[in-house]
Subunit: 463 residues, 2 copies
Amino acid sequence: MQRLTGADATFLYTQTPNAHMEIGACIVVDAEALPTGEALLRHTLDWLQPRLHLAPMMRRRLVRVPFQLDHPVWVEDPGFDVEYHVRHVALPAPGTFEQLGDLVGRLMSRRLDHSRPLWELYVIEGLDGGRGATFMKTHHAAVDGVAGFNLLASMVDLAAAAPPPDPPDVQWEPEPIPTDVRLVADATANLARQPLRGLKAARRLARQVADARTKHGSAKVVLGELGAPETRFNGTIGPHRRVRYFDLPLADVKAAKKRSGAKLNDLVLTVVGGGLRRYLERHDELPDAPLIAFVPISGRVPDAGGTDGNQTSMMYVALATDEDDPATRLARIAEASAAAKAVHADLGPSALVDLSALTGPALAAASLRLVDTFRLLERTRLGGNVVVSNIPGPDFPLYTAGARISGLFPMGPIGEGTGLNVTLLSYLDSLGFSVVADRDLVPDLDDLVDDLRAAWKELDSCL
Amino acid sequence: MQRLTGADATFLYTQTPNAHMEIGACIVVDAEALPTGEALLRHTLDWLQPRLHLAPMMRRRLVRVPFQLDHPVWVEDPGFDVEYHVRHVALPAPGTFEQLGDLVGRLMSRRLDHSRPLWELYVIEGLDGGRGATFMKTHHAAVDGVAGFNLLASMVDLAAAAPPPDPPDVQWEPEPIPTDVRLVADATANLARQPLRGLKAARRLARQVADARTKHGSAKVVLGELGAPETRFNGTIGPHRRVRYFDLPLADVKAAKKRSGAKLNDLVLTVVGGGLRRYLERHDELPDAPLIAFVPISGRVPDAGGTDGNQTSMMYVALATDEDDPATRLARIAEASAAAKAVHADLGPSALVDLSALTGPALAAASLRLVDTFRLLERTRLGGNVVVSNIPGPDFPLYTAGARISGLFPMGPIGEGTGLNVTLLSYLDSLGFSVVADRDLVPDLDDLVDDLRAAWKELDSCL
């Protein structure tokens, strides 16, 4: 039994019926060497079983504390049943990336069962070009971007015929689900030991914000004070998602980086800004003020790596969508991004981590639920106009269940007031884009993908 | 805007997070004449669009009245989007009925979105033998068994190249979602007009039950007083389902009916009783008392046909699972079934229909939610040990979207305390069985299917 940290629990408290705070990844493989049909499902289960101990969250379920007196705990699930989690499905012909996106979009629209370990894995056959895919989803409370990458790492090998990992030192043992009496007793003891925990954290965060505001006051880049404009991406979201994947040649992106001297992250933000500008302009909805990107960054301290859990923080960057010229847009984004990073360095990585300590879990959950009820988030726009998450990936080939991986597409969550998420991962010779949107806010997601591609071409040609 | 009847609304009030009260049907077709891949999806949409007006619930969504002052209303959905409802997926090779059951089981485990019209349709490719399938699901609040059959009927043609039906006399018009103010005003006016509605209905039902009890007192067949024994099928259900389909040759079943002089429904109940006896005996869990089947029967008055909505009632029949000899079991079931029908005739079809009027919707929903919270249903066993629903189907071929239908498998809901549902439909030369079970209560549903088949063989050979 292990209690969630405040940061991990935050993703549970901020979850609403529609913003389920789930993340996923689609692994595209060359399926020619794999068995097909029922044999493929058995093959995948046989491959996965000796790897389950690499990611403890795969056999742990959440148990909530009565009256939310404290954060929930993880318990080694006594009802663990791997066949519940691993499912098998196929794409209809011809098996395009768009059909894969449609399927994954539906699977991302469905909430995980919180009475079981928080993951589902789909073995997907029938992608065109002799390819297949594995789609895995989990909850943001179980893994952040970096720990999610660790989970992904436990799902991959460095060779097609890699031997299974060493068995765990200690055999896995299920735990009994703790009784409500025990959970309440533990929580009460915790509260008695640390009565000032929430208060102290709140005071520390307030001081950091005040300090940062004094220093960078005029820039207004602190905690969303940039004032993101109203756009269609920021309405109230529903439970349904659209998903699209595409990629750019990494060599071209790196050449543009070299020619311009810009950072890869700023190039990416410029492509997203350019794509959104095109999309909104065509809809006659481009606001005067620039759109704001919510950019998660890893606040994990290096030696804490290898464990599950969250150490993510974030910064806000104006995307210069009011600027038509891509080179000028890049320059403005590079400047805004550098300023945001300076603020972030002063604020420290604890900003998001400590937010949940401000009011204690019960109050946080209750007030967030109220916010949901009154749809205030739609107006307060906590998260910027769009989430843009850029994760550096490996440049050497990876394998899963004996098949060579040809594409890796991680997907981040969308939330109330932020109905669009663009997550990027470089892998081998590609820079992959995973775009997740609310189904109704962005009915024409294919057009937005075209706009992102066009924005890249335009930027590339002028650098 | 149309208000739900008390009977339809009952299925909403009795819905719990795990007992979602959803029903579905799987239509198996010969797919050789159909296009494949993306062309099949377009073909299906083109076929469906001119038929939408045949089943008004397909474009109507529920709107709940604030504080549940009255039953919810149906509104012609202003956000109707047929592409949300129609989805496309394929089975992995080899495409067995078991793989179809696995897929449908997952789709039945997922709750419908109640902010949209209450249906989803999946075009499924890749069933073996050149076959395909259409799986459609909806909510029991929108259709009962008979109206569900009407919905199914609107999905089928009498010829492969049947022309589309006549267009509606009046073009479909979306309605604005009524404001909370209007909903409350309407509900208050209704309450003012009919202050005694609930009281009168409660008094009428109580009198009917008392009368029936006096007359058939010793038989104890009234409203679940049979005292269903404890079995694994009657624990607390989770959100997940298992689904299996199989069929028996209808000619063999009819021959056995003729030889024995028994009713088809009693033969079917004897097969189910025999299968459950075998299954529980092998698990060393066979109770001394006979299992009780909850048998929905149509209480619809003949001239009210053709409309959506519910007129279903039910009876309880002891399945003589304490009896080893199949012929004796059949005789006991025939007797119990005749007695239950006599009680039902006295009680009238209004029993279930009026239950929701007992306390008014707000109280009904609140008390049922309490029941769920305290898991009392697990002990009170409102629904018998198993639901057995036998629907006579057509003996002539039907077609859907230009393809000949080779199998029709409707599926009923399971509920708290009743984790197993067997629904039968005769079609052409087959008697199809659809078995829906809670995923955890019946982990070995394939074995139960074998037991049902074996029970039929045993019964057939001794008649």
